[in-house]
Amino acid sequence: MNLKPATLKQIDEVITHYPVKRSATLPLLHLVQEDAGWISTEAIEWVAAKLELPPINIYEVVTFYPMFRQKPIGRRHIKVCRTLSCALTGGYKVCEQFQQEFGCRPGEVSADGEVTIEFVECLASCGSGPVVLIDDDLHERVDAAKVKALSDQIKTAAQGRPAT
């Protein structure tokens, strides 16, 4: 595993929070995913070794929790809330519009590698729906105009990025 020194430091620190090492499974997976973008088989084995566990104990956790992913996603992660309160105020339309903007379906990576759209369950901001979480930032009362504005922002930022 090629993790950043800062990540390794955080990993060693977070393990000290628990009397039993296995408890650090979720925190370690979060840190690895934030660093590497996704959780590879190598990462599962690395976390298992770090916590002195058989890899299956990590694998079963990765496959259980929706936020852990076993393949790379786009550079920006758009999560649209699907659940009732947001749906009542237009969540499905918002998700569809994002798909049109970026030409990809939920779970896919857009052709330019820029975004992955996900239709997720309740984001616990039901009073200001429809809500969308882009990377770590929550956007509230998202209507058609807001989807357009957010999409344009993402596209503009992508243009400014040097080709990789």
Binding site: H30, L88, C126
Partner: protein, 451 residues
């Protein structure tokens, strides 16, 4: 009768201009003064105050907080843990988000007082993964508190030590169930544990006695210790003491969060006056009063029976609008106050489609260890989705009821009830819409796709 004014106890500083979530601001507003006083008292006295207060858990079940604390095994010699349940994920509920983001020190103070009262040496805040900023805000707040000796070793020279860490979930609703949460904190899949024997109060985290309390509940503890349990009972109504935060979402003019004395406001006052009523040209059709698993109420229906007022039994005959928003009244009419998440639907909504949306949620979130829940929630989703997107048959209503009726009581945790109550109650209240759906969807297409 006009709606009462809000009584903001927990949300006193939410959205207050100039109020920031850092320690200096909290201290300026009298922060940690209650904890200081509490540290000078006997822990048993603090537990007594909470018992006297009648505080009921704000996570959903409404279980007595004092009783929960009393059940903790203090003789085993094992360490006692406290876990803050900040895994707020019951659809329709969004109160804890604002406490965490805007007033994290209130939560930390309430938590540390509760830890001291219960002789806890290590506590965790289990926050849902979808609140990354919330987790960072809490971590920063704990660091500030630790640096000021309000958390950690020998707190304010009291000889009492207790540390507090933030633990992030990763998108699984079932982690809100306390034993699932404990499994998750142990680094495992969040499969809830069977009770008995795994009552957290006896065999919780690492098989040690463990208290799991909701964010809002722990904030109430701070206010109870501040004013005294007796004084706290003066807020609200008997057996429903203190304030309640209602999270209103869906089809009202002013959705949002509102804090009132428990039992002092009716559904009608809340929706019509506080939230401004239905959207222009619309009428209310149905409301889910306590998070998406709570049984639905249909506008126009009446609830009749006898209820206790003081020592007397009196008749009641309520419409949806007349029902007081407290645990007991909502329980009496066959639904629940739950987490305070009020989801409103107006006459533009077709109930088959709304149920299909809810069923998709529960099907996605079942942990999968009990067959009735895993398969039942999946089939309820498949049937309702097929009704919307494919062929709707007249016998679907009976089929759905048959599936739903086979789940509750046959699962390890209350998710079995949570996933079947929507289907059972939608069918009981709106059975006609399910039977007539095949026709209805041809003549009246959905205003807003829900599935």
């Amino acid at each position: 009768m006009p709606a009462p004014v809000q009584r903001r106890l927990i949300f006193a500083h939410i959205d207050e201009p100039g109020y920031t979530n850092d320690l200096p601001c909290y201290l300026q507003h009298g922060g940690y003064a209650v904890m200081k006083k509490a540290l000078a008292r006997k822990p048993e006295e603090l537990i007594d105050e909470v018992k006297k207060s009648g505080l009921r858990g704000r996570g959903g079940a409404g279980f007595s907080c004092g009783l929960k604390w009393t059940l903790v095994d203090r003789k085993s010699g094992k360490p006692i843990y406290l876990i803050v349940n900040a895994d707020e994920s019951e659809p329709g509920t969004f109160k804890d988000r604002y406490i965490i983001h805007q007033d994290p020190h209130q939560l930390i103070e309430g938590t540390m007082i509760s830890c001291f009262a219960n002789n806890v040496k290590q506590a965790y805040i289990y926050i849902r993964g979808e609140m990354p900023h919330g987790a960072r805000i809490l971590e920063k707040a704990i660091q500030e508190a630790r640096a000021a000796n309000l958390v950690g070793k020998n707190i304010l020279g009291s000889n009492y030590s207790c540390d507090l860490f933030v633990h992030r979930g990763a998108g699984a609703y079932i982690c809100g169930e306390e034993t699932g949460l404990i499994e998750s904190l142990e680094g495992k899949r969040a499969n809830p544990r069977i009770k008995p024997p795994y009552f957290p109060a006896v065999l919780g985290l690492y098989q040690c006695p463990t208290i799991v309390n909701n964010v809002e509940t722990l904030c109430h503890v701070k206010h109870i210790v501040d004013m005294g349990g007796e004084a706290y009972t003066k807020i609200g109504t008997p057996n429903n003491t203190g304030t309640r935060i209602f999270c209103v979402s869906g089809h009202v003019q002013r959705p949002g969060y509102y804090e009132f004395e428990a039992g002092r406001i009716t559904m009608g006052q809340l929706l019509n006056e506080v939230c401004g009523g239905p959207r222009p040209g619309r009428t209310f059709k149905a409301v889910i009063p306590g998070g998406s698993s709570a049984k639905i109420m249909r506008f126009g229906e009446r609830y009749k029976g006898k209820r206790k007022v003081g020592a007397e039994l009196v008749d009641y005959d309520w419409g949806v609008e007349d029902v007081p928003m407290d645990f007991d009244s909502l329980g009496m009419i066959g639904t629940m106050g739950g987490s305070g998440g009020v989801i409103v639907m107006d006459d533009s909504v077709n109930m088959v489609e709304a149920l299909a949306n809810i069923n998709a949620f529960y099907s996605h979130e079942s942990c999968g260890q009990c067959t009735p829940c895993r398969e039942g929630s999946l089939w309820m989703k498949k049937i309702t989705s097929r009704m919307v997107h494919g062929e709707a048959r007249e016998q679907d209503a009976a089929l759905l009821k048959n599936v739903a009726d086979q789940i509750p009581g046959r699962t390890i945790c209350a998710f079995g009830e949570a996933c079947s109550w929507p289907t059972q109650s939608f069918l009981a209240k709106f059975g006609d819409e399910f039977k007539g759906y095949a026709e209805a969807k041809k003549t009246k297409p959905a205003a807003m796709p829900l599935i």
